[in-house]
Symmetry: C2
Subunit: 375 residues, 2 copies
């Protein structure tokens, strides 16, 4: 079933000139249940020498001997366990980069991110900053990175974010929540092993899956859509509906949600996200609300923009008995709302994709605040 697929004849770039983005794809991907056991073979030819370690940045959910025994460590390789309780931050990236630079006499052979969107985005950002001067916040924006990142590998352990294929790494900075969008951001290698998602708690599974679902809705209804993006978005949307509304074996469901995340990420990569993401960024900047649940908190109130998408979302919420927190914005001050509104309205390409070139006349600060007040 396709929803809201208004293919408008706009081009896949924010300026609407007839220039198209030359889109970087992940050049190597391995897919399969148990494929994590092949990681050592994949990394071996990429080792520069015995002094240049691989740094594994891993969600601390996996901090146990059973997992460590499977990591293909050699020489001075290091595993850094990192909490994904909070959204990734520019200062956190800078600290990791400084720590790695200080500890090793030469640059690592590469960075391996293992986890959800937080860990994948941290791994991308660290690999960029290890090869580029300055601080992470200097690169938040579009196409500000000058030199290729260090070799970096992404291994998602939860499905939905699309971080495994995207050309961005979204970071909370001192002044904004914004991605480092560049051709050097995508991973050099992705390993898709659906077995990792066996241990994901149900709420997190749902929220992160909805990140993918919302990517598809925002991409398929956006003004930047083209046939490339549409074909990926439609497939990801179908897979989301199989997973969240269908009745399929749990093993197939894991496989399919992993592919939904992949295709959904491809779809937004060549178009853009929309209202839900623009608002969710404000929410997590001010309140530190994580991206997956933040999207859901926002999306439930967007029926005027995405009527069919919100109807499907409500069905999925019902089917899986998900209860979202209420009154999240109840006690905020006017200053708080101003901060969220400013962060959100600063994401111009997202609004232009969602509402067209005249978006500023449609989405005023006042209207946006009313939406935030509902959450």
């Amino acid at each position: 079933m396709k929803i809201e697929s208004n293919l408008k004849k706009h081009k896949a770039n924010p300026t609407n000139k007839t220039t198209y983005r030359n889109f970087p794809m992940v050049p190597k991907v391995i897919f399969g249940s148990g494929s994590f056991s092949q990681l050592g073979d994949i990394l071996l030819p990429m080792r520069k020498n015995s002094e240049a370690p691989f740094i594994f940045m891993v969600d601390d959910f996996f901090e146990n001997q059973q997992f460590l025994a499977q990591v293909p460590l050699m020489f001075n390789d290091e595993v850094i366990f990192i909490s994904a309780e909070e959204e990734p931050k520019t200062a956190q990236v800078d600290a990791l980069v400084a720590q790695i630079r200080e500890k090793y006499s030469e640059l690592p052979s590469g960075i391996i991110g293992i986890g959800g969107g937080t860990l994948l985005d941290l791994a991308k950002a660290v690999s960029i900053l290890l090869n580029n001067k300055g601080l992470a916040k200097d690169y938040q924006g579009w196409d500000l990175v000058n030199k290729p990142a260090l070799y970096h590998v992404g291994i998602p352990t939860i499905s939905g974010t699309g971080a495994e294929v995207s050309r961005t790494t979204v970071l909370l900075g001192p002044e904004k929540k914004l991605g480092i969008n560049s051709d050097f951001t995508p991973f050099d290698q992705v390993l898709l092993d659906p077995d990792f998602s066996k241990t994901v708690p149900k709420d997190q599974w749902f929220y992160t899956g909805m990140d993918c679902f919302i990517h598809c809705v925002e991409s398929l209804t956006g003004t930047y859509l083209n046939a490339f993006s549409q074909s990926y978005g439609e497939k990801a949307m179908e897979l989301c509906q199989e997973v969240f509304l269908g009745d399929i074996p749990v093993e197939d469901s894991r496989d399919k949600l992993m592919m939904a995340s992949w295709h959904g990420g491809m779809s937004i990569a060549y178009s853009q996200v929309g209202v839900a993401h623009a608002m969710s960024y404000g929410l997590s900047y001010l309140l530190g609300i994580k991206h997956g649940i933040g999207n859901c908190l926002v999306f439930q109130h967007l029926e005027e923009f995405y009527p069919k998408g919100v109807a499907l979302f409500n069905k999925m919420m019902d089917k899986h008995n998900i209860q979202l927190p209420k009154g999240v914005c109840a006690d905020l001050t006017q200053n708080d709302f101003d901060v969220m509104v400013n962060i959100s309205l600063g994401l111009e390409p997202l609004w232009e994709n969602a509402l067209g070139k005249d978006w500023k006349t449609i989405m005023t600060p006042e209207r946006l605040q009313v939406l935030y007040e509902k959450i």
Copy 2:
């Protein structure tokens, strides 16, 4: 609509061990009507120096001033027009490589293939052989290429072959029709400009589109299928049905068939083709029949293997008033049949994908000859 999607729990490699292929994807892609005008900007940073030309290998269908005026030539760049009347040959690759080596003091900056499967496969093979010793026939098979190919760009002008994303380049050699399958085969850059397909003759449009349709049927029903391959195959199949059985505007149809080819190619790249391709290779080896029409000639007689696929194929043939030649194999000798049967049965991964590990007990030389005799 999904057809024959028997997801069996086999792994995506011919040996059925739990090792998975680490699949190389095209690392850069640009999509859009008119995007050919951006080729110059894309090539500029890839120029090694003014003595290292770009060699444009172009289907001689485009041998005219209007086309030449659009090719972004600089310095000593060269356009070589090549006929796609015949399937690409190993000796043709060797001759092109010798010609380029002789003419230029250093290796080219890169090879740009512009055309259908023939030109794309020639461009891939020439870029491999310019960086690897020996003859093209030495590399026909799986993973025999040792060194990376020269930078190479693929620009399909007709949709369906999947050559723009595949890790093979299929060549007629002195002893076999077989691909150079390797991680170095895929293009470094693909440019997808649907405008090129405006000028494709209707029969050719249909036959080449059916190459994609048949890829999907063979991938989705094969024993090598996994969820990765399945998601691409299903999307390509949907797009084929929109294009060949639906009622959509011609501009959308061009866009969608281009994406069908892309996704269909991705699907077989991580699984394998089947009976139609195995038989079609024999047909073109012996009779020089081109791949697109060869697939159709074979596929019409494969209802016992692909009942739903053949039924859809027949509907598409009817809708577009396609008349296939008859009696193609009527005058062949027993020796001719032996040659075709041997070529075809030599493609073991294709048969194993189609019929499972015990394929040799299912597809005997006698049974295969009976199928060829129907054509």
